[in-house]
């Protein structure tokens, strides 16, 4: 039985990774699960320099999901390389590094810096974070800027590029195509949805940042539709994510057209989720007599 998939030049032993920002830098979960069983480890977003992030409260629980406005707290490229890379580079599975910037030049510079680091699996361009004032979603909701970011990173590195698209657009197809044409090797669909919650006792927003990103099982049906639409628009592979809790959720994403999937919010309440998803995909394939997981990709039947 084959579970391995190719995401551009990135080979994954199985189609399951973790979503950026929900798995730290891998090392935090290493005592709870064997990271080398994953398809890849994806780390929290990194820009050139260190970032303190937003004030607290930074998250709020909502029905079947949560809001977050962390504000991309992180150690910067040098801090990441010094503190976390020595651990990650020893893994047998690839690391996907999620990167961002506040200008096209910064994205490219971060990409260039990681190009010089031996052993990086791929770069994921976060052009879709709703929680920072500059950068983030602004690049993901303007096709021209998106093309510029992807093209600049393409020139800066030979590493596989995964462009992580924003869900907050009228139609995802033009953005998917813009990323593909600018040289992206793959897409990640999707990031969190801009959202808000209010504490009625205090009349204050539950997040210090007022608004945040909605994630978890409540966004899954919306994410499935976006993956399905993006998959029809491009030839490059897609990593699907949004609310995955079990193998059935993951298989839905594969059928919608994703070549791989990422487990996000579920890590917070069930750190074993990604491993359970891998085991569940395997037993689904056994039950259905499927030899190769790639047979599932895009296999949804839409004609009645």
């Amino acid at each position: 039985m084959n579970l391995a998939v190719q995401v551009g030049a990135l080979r994954m032993q199985n189609p399951v990774t973790v979503a950026s920002g929900t798995f730290g830098y891998g090392v935090e979960y290493a005592r709870l699960l064997d990271l080398n069983q994953l398809g890849a480890v994806t780390v929290k977003g990194i820009r050139l320099g260190p970032v303190r992030g937003n004030s607290t409260p930074r998250t709020a629980e909502v029905a079947s999901g949560m809001l977050n406005a962390i504000g991309l707290q992180g150690p910067g490229v040098d801090g990441f390389i010094a503190k976390y890379w020595p651990f990650l580079k020893e893994l047998t599975v690839p690391t996907i590094i999620n990167i961002w910037g506040t200008s096209v030049e910064e994205y490219a510079e971060v990409a260039r810096r990681f190009d010089a680091v031996e052993g990086v699996g791929a770069l994921e361009l976060n052009v879709s974070c709703p929680n920072i004032k500059e950068g983030g979603a602004q690049f993901g909701t303007d096709c021209k800027l998106l093309s510029q970011v992807v093209a600049a990173c393409r020139r800066a590195t030979r590493l596989p590029l995964i462009t992580k698209l924003s869900p907050n657009v009228v139609s995802i197809a033009p953005y998917a195509r813009a990323a593909e044409e600018a040289g992206s090797d793959a897409l990640a669909v999707t990031n969190s949805y801009p959202a808000m919650a209010i504490d009625v006792e205090t009349r204050r927003p539950k997040l210090a940042n007022v608004t945040g990103g909605l994630t978890g099982p409540c966004i899954k049906p919306i994410a499935i539709k976006l993956v399905w639409e993006a998959a029809k628009a491009v030839k490059i592979p897609i990593i699907g994510m949004g609310g995955i809790q079990d193998a059935t959720d993951a298989i839905e994403f594969l059928m919608a057209g994703a070549s791989a999937v990422a487990v996000g919010t579920a890590n917070f309440y069930e750190p074993q989720t990604a491993l359970q998803v891998i085991a569940g995909i395997r037993s689904f394939m056994e039950r259905k007599g499927i030899q190769d997981v790639r047979e599932i990709v895009g296999s949804v039947i839409t004609d009645r």
Partner: protein, 261 residues
């Protein structure tokens, strides 16, 4: 740190909205240090997904117990669970209290409400008994006084409405004690944030060391999500540190109560 499915052995009302939960959790019981917590997945909660953090109150043999107050969705569901039901437990988590090493220092514990729960293991491990200052709004908020007395500790209770012990704030008898003699005293506190802040100020005034167990909202409990951060002094001014990982116990001198501009 490990994850296990644990069985509820008992889950009974203590007083008012407070419950005592006993779990069969041998691996966690063996490893727990004073001031550490467990992150509990309350399986019957349906649309509320996140785990809930609770200090370990007591640990004996294969069991750990938790003393909790019903305040919202999760704790309400938890209070209806019964012996034989299962919970997901992740723990022990966090950096706990520094257990005093010699009998030279006299520990003074300061607790508000369920903050008492975080203090028992510390009192039990301490090489010498000290005083627990426990405060609450009303009589029902004064928890487990007898258990601390049984360890040979003095308990000084205060209630805001005067229904039990001294009337006033828990910090008042603490200040009186330090005025008598602050030398060789070491403070440990767990409770509502305004109380912790007052304890930090008192520790500074009397120049005594203090460790505070901070209460912040948490998602992952293991350091990956960066929900639970508080501003803490650092080499280059200040930084956000994680209550679940660098904390929940912090040195009071390091905690910044507001984010610097």
């Amino acid at each position: 740190m490990l994850e296990e499915l644990v069985q509820i052995l008992a889950n009974e009302r203590d007083v008012g909205a407070y419950f005592r939960l006993t779990l069969h959790a041998p691996e966690i019981a063996r490893r727990i240090q004073p001031g550490q917590f467990v992150h509990i997945r309350i399986l019957p909660m349906r649309d509320a997904l996140l785990r809930r953090p609770f200090s370990v109150f007591q640990a004996a043999g294969d069991n750990v117990s938790i003393l909790y107050k019903v305040v919202g969705k999760g704790t309400a569901v938890l209070s209806r669970m019964q012996a034989g039901d299962q919970l997901g437990a992740l723990g022990p988590l966090g950096h706990g209290f520094t257990v005093p090493k010699s009998a030279g220092e006299k520990p003074l514990l300061v607790a508000g409400g369920y903050g008492m729960a975080a203090m028992y293991l510390l009192a039990q491990c301490s090489p010498r008994p000290g005083v627990v200052f426990v405060g609450g709004r009303r009589r029902v908020d004064i928890l487990c006084e007898q258990e601390f007395r049984a360890l040979g500790w003095d308990v000084c209770a205060t209630t805001e409405d005067g229904s039990y012990g001294h009337r006033g704030l828990v910090t008042e008898p603490l200040v009186a004690e330090l005025r008598r003699d602050a030398k060789g005293k070491r403070l440990f506190a767990c409770g509502p944030t305004p109380m912790l802040r007052a304890v930090a100020r008192i520790a500074e005034d009397f120049d005594v060391p203090a460790e505070l167990s901070m209460d912040e909202h948490m998602c992952c409990g293991v350091g990956v999500c960066l929900t639970c951060v508080i501003p803490v002094k650092s080499a280059d001014g200040w930084e956000y540190q994680r209550t679940c990982t660098e904390g929940p116990v912090f040195d009071s001198k390091e905690v910044l109560w507001e984010v610097p501009r």
